[in-house]
Amino acid sequence: MSLLAVDGLSVRFDTDDGPVHAVDRLSFTLGESEVLGVVGESGCGKSVSFMSLLRLLPETATVEGAATFDGIDLLHASPARLRSIRGRQIAFVFQEPMTSLNPAFKVGNQIGEVLRRHLGLSRGDARRRSIELLDLVRIPSPERRVDEYPHQLSGGMRQRVMIAMAVACDPKILIADEPTTALDVTIQAGILDLMRDIRERLGTAIVLITHNLGVVADVADRVLVMYAGRKVEEAPVHELFARPQHPYTNGLLGAVPRPGAGRLREIPGRVPSLAELPAACAFAPRCPRADQLSRTQVPDLREVAPQHHVACFHPGPDAEATA
């Protein structure tokens, strides 16, 4: 029984220039203590999908479909119910640690907030627990840091604070939206280590949203590749890297720098605007394998190997293997 089951999730934004379809019929499941990597370029709808589950999107967004968490219908839950799930059962870590923490309050205060709100801890207990959490996320001198303000911490430390805030109430799912993108490469490794640690120690299921395949290879159990609001491939991580099927996935792997692999291949063209839902394969305009079929029909998800699904009319590895 999966922890989170999403079926046919669609998100549409009503903007001044017309509707924008950010997510188109996305379906996936997440099991307990599983790490799911969600990969795709900026604007492919990966962040929006997960924010929609907790209704964190602005009012211009319309969400359709079904999403069940632990037996609860997320999309139709009451605001009060939703608020009891946010931060407590499902927690978010956002991309920009610089701006995601409130500059006016001490770090300990912000972590303590979640503890006081959801677990009813007293101020004293919340402060003690905050220090423990800061230690958990490996911030040195936590007793000192707990009374500091966000601007006194480095980017990497701020991100750790965000993670501490997120795991404070021992949530079942931790959704990390590009947790390392705004950080230096050297810091990134530390954050990823931390995520692995959290999964091991606390048994939290993690959704790792990123555009960086390297990050995913490190930590994820399964990978979901999105393009233009649709899922185009999904597979266990080793399977995906060994036998990528979708041309986009192949493109992404080809674009990962590797010593000795020669010139980086880029995927020509640009991400399509999401204003109209094309009645065709969304990737066709940029796809080397595109033909009449992919330009006129939307490919369904098909299982090409155990637990490996692709939405493509011409699945298979690229001629230039990237092994």
Binding site: L82, R88, H151
Partner: protein, 318 residues
Amino acid sequence: MGGFLLRKAGAALVVVFLSSVVVFIGVRALPGDPALALGAENRDPAVLAAVRHAYGLDQPLPVQYVKWASRALRGDLGLDARQLPVGHTIVTRIPITLELALLAVLIGVAIGILAGVVAAVRRGRLSDHTATTSSLVGLSVPHFWLGLMMIIVFAVDLHWLPASGYVSFRQHPLSNLEHLLMPALVLGTGLSAVLMRQTRSAMLNSLTADYVRTARAKGLSERSVIAKHALRNSLITVTTVVGLQLGALISGAVITEQIFVIPGFGRLTLEAVNERDYTLLQGVVLVAATGYVVVNLLVDVVYSLLNPRIRVSGATNQ
């Protein structure tokens, strides 16, 4: 925080000093020979020379300035045309204006910030439009005219409030408030209009900020999100605006006291100009400028308390 405040205090001192120079020169630039006025219009050159010497008017300007400034620092601002000590007159009149200003600020801040928050939270809805339009009206209304209108309605027609005059708080607290209510409302309206717009704008920025999204994602109640997270950051911006508005408040007090015949500091300024009492005018302007600088310094203090980036120095490694 100490560094920030020290710099601001230093700047304030420079401004006060420069202002005093400007006041000094300004008054000297006024037409008319002060020796004539001081010597009771006696045009005898010998007498004029004696008067000039007695008052130190024959000394070079910088020397005169130093003498004047050093006396001013000790609180001696000279004698006005009625031979009354300027310092004393000012000191008796200031508390009245201060009370008026305080009431006006209370009204302005309470209404302005509240309306601004409501307008931002209920953006696009009726309460937003009402508040925004009211603030626009509040900005466009000439406040002295508003005062006149209020006198017509509340004093002349309805006889609810006195049209003019002042009663001190110690003498009769209720009457004191009755006399100050309309003037304070008049002054406060302008302030509330500006504050409402600034608060709304700052809140709209805060409400779309990432940290508010984080607060919501943590499952905090909407009230907590608005009142604690969004408002706190908006107040930082609003504080700077309040500081800037205080100058307008002083100007407003001058006219308001004129219309409502309140014997305050503002009215004193007009009296000084009308009576061509230059010593008095000099003292008044100096005190006004210094007061403004001091109050702004206080605003800076509040600002530094609210803004942790100023209160505590930045990151050690970034």
